[in-house]
Symmetry: none
Subunit: 229 residues, 4 copies
DNA sequence: AATGAATGAGCCTTCATTCAT
DNA sequence: GATGAATGAAGGCTCATTCAT
């Protein structure tokens, strides 16, 4: 992760379909390891071992560890978004949209499979930022954040740009991220947690209902306040 | 992080007013660095440099890096708890208790001062556990978790052991921890954040109101459901 | 000297004629240093300096200092045994066998050349044991000890399992090992020692004659005692 | 163990009979540790811990670790020699003298008690010499070596200065030192060894008889050779 | 006379990276 | 296109020693 230019970074390989993909195997293994360990704790040796490639392959294909990390991120970005989209339909009913958002967001964090890696990479990045964070924020988080803001805003009956909407969205996301980032503690304080898809969906559903209850109440309060004025 | 006993660890210095306390300077610097970087990323060299002591001083006073970490934790534990207590008064009103809890918990995480390091150490420990975590859970988190559970339970009208109470408490804590752990992202997505004591209290107040609204609604729902049966 | 498996240890290099063998240079230098200093006092820095390789090369090729040590041991074991074998021929005459054993054993300890390192490593291990000792005893010493016991037993006319044979063999080996392990003292008390191959053979011959005289006498005594009964 | 002069070394303490002897406690503990571990592996921390004195006490009383080692050596020299003397009586019978020497020498090496430390220090010094060795040789070993030579010479019927006598004496001592220095191996190859005083005396007796048998035979051979001329 | 505290050199190891096929 | 080998920086830790009471 040098700050200076990377003189030795190669472009994408000239013959991308060579042997079923050394490069792809690395991306796969790296996704796994980065998602599980974060950027810093992940080691290139571990990644190469899992990908069954030489340790120099990372440097050859990606330049350095950090560039690999970037590639991994954008490589899984598409899969993650396609599988667990966050969309806002102005004509749709607000509550189901929020429920869907919670479900997809939670799956992205807690499901063990590959498409979930993307969500986990972002979660990691929140806790342990790398220089990539700025790019992620610009290209990825901000748009989704706007979407979420609109969903929440529609539920709470306040403009997406309002402080109220922002705070509500923050509360909503915090509840879900906590369940992933702090799993080590949750599992110790409340032993016997399961992370089956069904149980994860129950978690998501609870967060949705908890938050919807809050949003409804706050919407009412906001209205009453407005009326009172 | 040896598993065997540490025969060489010293007790507190006999001449506490030696020269402003090398040992204390180390604890101070270590608190700073551990809170900011976490156990693994923190280096003893950095800590010693900040404390302006020789690198071997850590070995002398604490045995090794991990024992220093433990010591830092318990050193700031007292200050953190005294300053920002979490208590439950069975005779008190549930809602103010929850508001007080939110305020203290948030301060412990977001205030820039020293007594807040304790909260931050725990937050770090959640994201990047060390063997200390098991001890912390047993001696520190579990009791506080029980307290929080009771506060939440009193608000939602369900027994502290119920799944409902547990899920609500999880949601509550997640909202607050998120604001600390993911500050790097929040500050980028919502630029212009301030972390003055006043603003932190406002954050706490919002989480409290958001959650109280949810709890009230869930309490009603639970009751209605009970009646309906 | 980890107890766990060493996943990262490499097999012998695929391109053995790389540049005269970094790996071999390390083994050579390590043999030299370990034989001269013992495991603990030998430093990887010294070894790498002599081998003119980077200090991390040891980690790359062998995992850690202790694994290097093991490798050095077995690397020189073959040479040492092939060059200076210890065998027992049941049909052969006992006395020449004992003389040959003394000659080979002594050469293994005192000859300045490389094949003698093996004997010296074992001599070191006797004085300053490492965990490797248990392995050496099992895989290497015990078989040779049995051989020596049989040679001695044939000379003294007692079964190899008898206490007499064991004590005699111990005396025999002690005489030779002393000349290597305690060379520092011998050279000072009896200045002017030479360690030419010829002189070493004379040492061996004396130990053989000294011991044979003793064995013959003990054999006679044992017989007479047996007759007397 | 600097080679330069020791500027900070204190003379013996001014009030030697202060409190039952911090200094003596250090000597005692150091004897124990040095005898068991050798100079280099022994640590001042371990010694101070056993002596229950501050770690700086060694420096205060002895200057540095090496000077302590010297003091320990000469401190126990007297006790060792008095308890296990090596003497030669020109009028005495040679064989009992050799038996006595073997017994005393072996006790000095294998007995667990304090007076044996001195012998063990010397044995250590043989295997792992320090600069002290030269002094020991001059002041201590050489005289004893002469005595032993005379005993052996009287038994083998050759002049003490002869090569024969020297070689015989070397063989004799080697047998005994081996049993101490290489105990780690002996115990593994021949499990079940005991080191009771009685058993140690049996070891000594065997070495004596083994060597006496050899010496007698060599004496005869030497005579016959002389007659033949 | 004695000590707790502090020091600096040195050790083994790990890691991402780069060299030379 | 791919790899085994090699590198240098950095990290945690231990030790004998010295400082300042």
């Amino acid at each position: 992760m040098k700050t200076a230019a990377k003189p030795r970074r190669r472009a994408a390989p000239r013959h991308p379909a060579h042997d079923a993909g050394t490069r792809d195997r690395i991306l796969e293994a790296a996704g796994e390891v980065f998602a599980a360990e974060g950027f810093r704790r992940a080691t290139v040796r571990e990644i190469c071992a899992r990908a069954k490639v030489n340790i120099a392959a990372i440097n050859y294909h990606f330049g350095d560890k950090y560039e690999l990390y970037r590639e991994v991120f954008s490589h899984f970005a598409r899969a993650g978004i396609e599988q667990y989209p966050v969309t806002f339909d102005p004509g749709g009913k607000p509550e189901p949209q929020l429920r869907a958002f919670c479900r997809n967001f939670t799956r992205r964090l807690l499901d063990p499979g590959r498409p979930a890696w993307h969500g986990r990479l972002i979660a990691r990045e929140m806790v342990e930022p790398t220089p990539l964070l700025d790019e992620i924020v610009k290209s990825f988080m901000r748009p989704q954040w706007e979407t979420i803001l609109r969903i929440v805003a529609a539920n709470v009956g306040a403009p997406p740009g309002s402080e109220l909407a922002r705070r509500c969205a923050t509360s909503l996301i915090g509840q879900m991220l906590f369940q992933h980032n702090c799993r080590a503690v949750i599992d110790r304080v409340q032993p016997g947690q399961e992370y089956t898809p069904e149980e994860n969906d129950r978690r998501a559903a609870f967060v949705a209902e908890f938050s919807l209850a809050a949003l409804r109440a706050l919407r009412g309060a906001a209205k009453r306040k407005a009326v009172a004025r």
